[in-house]
């Protein structure tokens, strides 16, 4: 008897011990560090040169290009390396679809196009002076080294051309830059360097990505467990590892399912996937739940559970942009309205004459979908039915049946933007310029499109309208500490499942066959009813002989 009790107890213990060990401890989440470590920028640490001591960097420098020449004096190959990357070329031909991509050519559903507006947009080109087609992409001295490498925080860029005075006023009155001090401060890039452009894509803080905002310049680990200043304090380049000035990780060619995992020394350093550090079985197998979680890696991108919300940390993202309302003026002047106060207390514009209306959102629950990493862009060359209701700027493919697909989180960006109603194409708008056609200053959309198209020899029917567009932004930053990751029940639930709209898979808890449930319930209910009736008949029947 004693033996059987022992077995019974051990069976019981097996049932109840597992959930206890599944309790969320702090592994592998890095615990908060009492003292902030220096930013980790790639695998190389502890440089052997102090640039502040370099004679070549003592200045004075009359221009950024002079600093670049000084850099190239020692870093002899850096220029040739750099000119191959998309920070310089703004051009990318997708090896599989053959589509001509890159900022230089694409249309998005924010400020729509940089092409023809480089005077403004190429502030974020890592070079000096790109304002039109005449820019020399072979001139190494035009590379801007310091925007990525300076650490004083005093360096800034202004538009490469003057633009209309309605806009250029925004850039007036900035303090002069001490280029020599900036040059002597160079180091490996920090978050603030990359953030200068990447946190402000789409025309403002976190407008575009949703998961990249100035909140990540000095984030707490609760906002991003890798970048947190009180945690690992990773710079962007800790993951976006650099090889000859080409960075791992691409929005044009996304690895939706990494099947290689970590590399040994000397092996893969060319990736920025979660698996490239965390491996293919990222959850320590200390419970049944972790075992199942490791299985889920096959179907679910890490980001889906580990980034429960984006646009966190007090900086909102734009989720809806309406160009139809742009161009309103007061006394002939453009104006703007503030109508949104974001988490960090800052006011955001909800209307600008030059851009239209914006809708903001914060702490956003992503959209979820099967994604194979392949984006199919609607480019300036794409023809579509002019009466189409919605155009996807970057539609994507993926399904349960596809071996490369996993369920990913996305930011969905919705915009009403101008298009060529006659031809059924998107359009280049000429927004920035000193001429009379530039929309930013003159507010005539028709003229702006006519010039934007004509400048690049593109066919324009002369009739424009506004069309709804969607763009999809895979979410991959703002990784929460594991304690805040989604729980199983956030998806495996009959009501309110995060993955309610994801098709092609049977998910326990979310899915059920209604007929089976009805028949099963009737069966069990009928059994109980039968028992009750049987029992009642027995109870009221005349009692016979008693045993």
């Amino acid at each position: 008897m004693r033996a059987s009790i022992a077995i019974l107890i051990s069976l019981l213990a097996l049932c109840f011990a597992a959930p206890v060990s599944a309790a969320r401890d702090n592994w592998p989440t890095p615990p908060a560090a009492p003292v902030s470590p220096p930013q980790v920028s790639g695998p190389l640490q502890g440089g052997t040169a102090d640039h502040a001591k370099f004679e070549e960097l003592q200045g004075p420098f009359a221009s950024g290009s002079e600093v670049t020449e000084a850099c190239l004096g020692c870093h002899t190959e850096a220029g040739q390396h750099f000119m191959k990357n998309i920070h310089w070329t703004w051009s990318y031909v997708h090896p599989e679809t053959g589509q001509q991509l890159g900022k230089r050519y694409l249309i998005n559903n924010f400020c729509t196009n940089s092409r023809g507006n480089e005077g403004m947009c190429a502030q974020c080109h890592a070079g000096y002076g790109w304002k039109d087609e005449s820019f020399d992409f072979t001139d190494e001295t035009k590379i801007d080294c310091i925007v990525c490498h300076e650490t004083t925080g005093t360096y800034y860029k202004t538009p490469n051309s003057e633009g209309h005075e309605a806009c250029s006023v925004m850039f007036a009155g900035k303090p002069p830059i001490d280029l020599a001090a900036v040059a002597r401060s160079v180091a490996l890039p920090e978050r603030a360097n990359c953030g200068t452009c990447h946190f402000k894509g789409g025309g403002g803080d976190n407008v575009k990505h949703g998961d990249l905002s100035t909140a990540l310049t000095e984030p707490p680990r609760t906002l991003d467990v890798h970048m947190g200043v009180d945690g690992l304090n990773f710079a962007c380049t800790a993951c976006h590892v650099t090889n000859r000035h080409v960075w791992a990780g691409s929005r044009y060619r996304i690895i939706s399912k990494d099947t290689e995992g970590t590399g040994l020394p000397g092996q893969r350093t060319d990736v920025a996937t979660c698996e490239s550090c965390h491996g293919l079985s990222p959850h320590p197998v200390d419970s049944l739940a972790s075992f199942k979680l490791n299985d889920h890696v096959q179907s679910i991108a890490c980001q889906t559970c580990h980034i429960p919300e984006f646009a966190r940390g007090g900086v909102a993202t734009v989720v809806d942009w309406d160009w139809r309302t742009a161009g309103k003026t007061r006394d002939g002047e453009g104006y703007h309205e503030e109508g949104y106060i974001q988490g960090n207390g800052e006011h955001r514009y909800t209307y600008k004459s030059i851009k239209g209306n914006f809708t903001y959102d914060e702490n956003v629950v992503p959209d979820y979908a099967w994604f194979d990493g392949q984006m199919i862009y609607t480019t300036i060359d794409t023809k579509f039915d002019p009466s189409a209701e919605v155009i996807e700027i970057n539609g994507f493919t993926g399904s349960r049946e596809d071996a490369d697909s996993r369920i990913w989180p996305f930011k969905r960006m919705h915009t009403w933007q101008p298009y060529d109603k006659g031809n059924g194409t998107l359009v280049y708008t000429h927004l920035w310029g000193e001429d009379d056609a530039a929309y930013w200053g003159n507010y005539d959309m028709g003229e702006s499109i006519a010039k934007g198209m004509a400048d690049f020899g593109l066919d324009y029917s002369g009739e424009f309208g506004f069309i709804e567009t969607l763009s999809w932004w895979p979410i991959t930053h703002m990784v929460a500490p594991k304690e805040e990751a989604l729980a199983c029940g956030d998806c495996h639930a009959p009501e309110g499942s995060r993955l309610a709209s994801v098709e092609g898979v049977y998910m326990p808890g979310r899915d059920h066959n209604p007929w089976l449930d009805i028949i099963g319930t009737l069966l069990v209910g009928g059994t109980l009813a039968g028992i009750i009736i049987h029992g009642l008949v027995r109870f009221f029947s005349p009692k016979g002989e008693h045993h």
Binding site: L14, P19, S299, H492, Y506, P508, D511, G520, K543
Partner: protein, 217 residues
Amino acid sequence: MALYRVKIFSLFERFWHWSQMLLIVVLLITGFGLHGFHGIFSFEQAVTLHTSAALALLVLWIFSVFWLFTTRTWRHFIPTVSGMWGVLRYYSFGIFKGERHPYRKAYWRKHNPLQALAYLMLKIVLFPAIWISGLAYLFYFAWRDLPRATEWLTGIAMVHTAAAFLILAFVFIHVYMLTTGHSFRDHLMPMISGFDEVDLSPEEEAYLRKDQPGDIR
């Protein structure tokens, strides 16, 4: 033939029965929770409990199958029609008139024909249906890349759920049956003490008295 109090459920069988009961209750509660019928546990807790209990039950079943075949007690579950009509008639009519249950336990037939058939079906149809579908369900990620895996998973989930409904119905009937005939306590005690009244032939009695005196009172 005469009635004696004989040990008909060995220690292992009683342990088997009660741990099986406990595990099945855990499985039913957590399983229907996972299915979305209630929210007593979080999904993670329910999965953990459900899977742990299921694996424990499988181990128990492996032992029980070994037991059944090594002790020859599997023969209790051989289906027979002999006496079936009487039992069916009793539950449909006789019971209401206060008749005696027509079946007498024999030493090598401790279940009445209806019981034997019900338990046999449970053992060879419902339980295999639920554990085979359950294992396939549990290890879905090992075969998810096979063609039509999603459709298979849907079918497996349906078999698993349907079997669960049927087992729940069985549990209700099984417990209700304890209230019939003798008292609830009289039905329950054999599975606790091991002893019940059994019709023994003189040879069986003589055998037990000589070789297993502890098993007969």
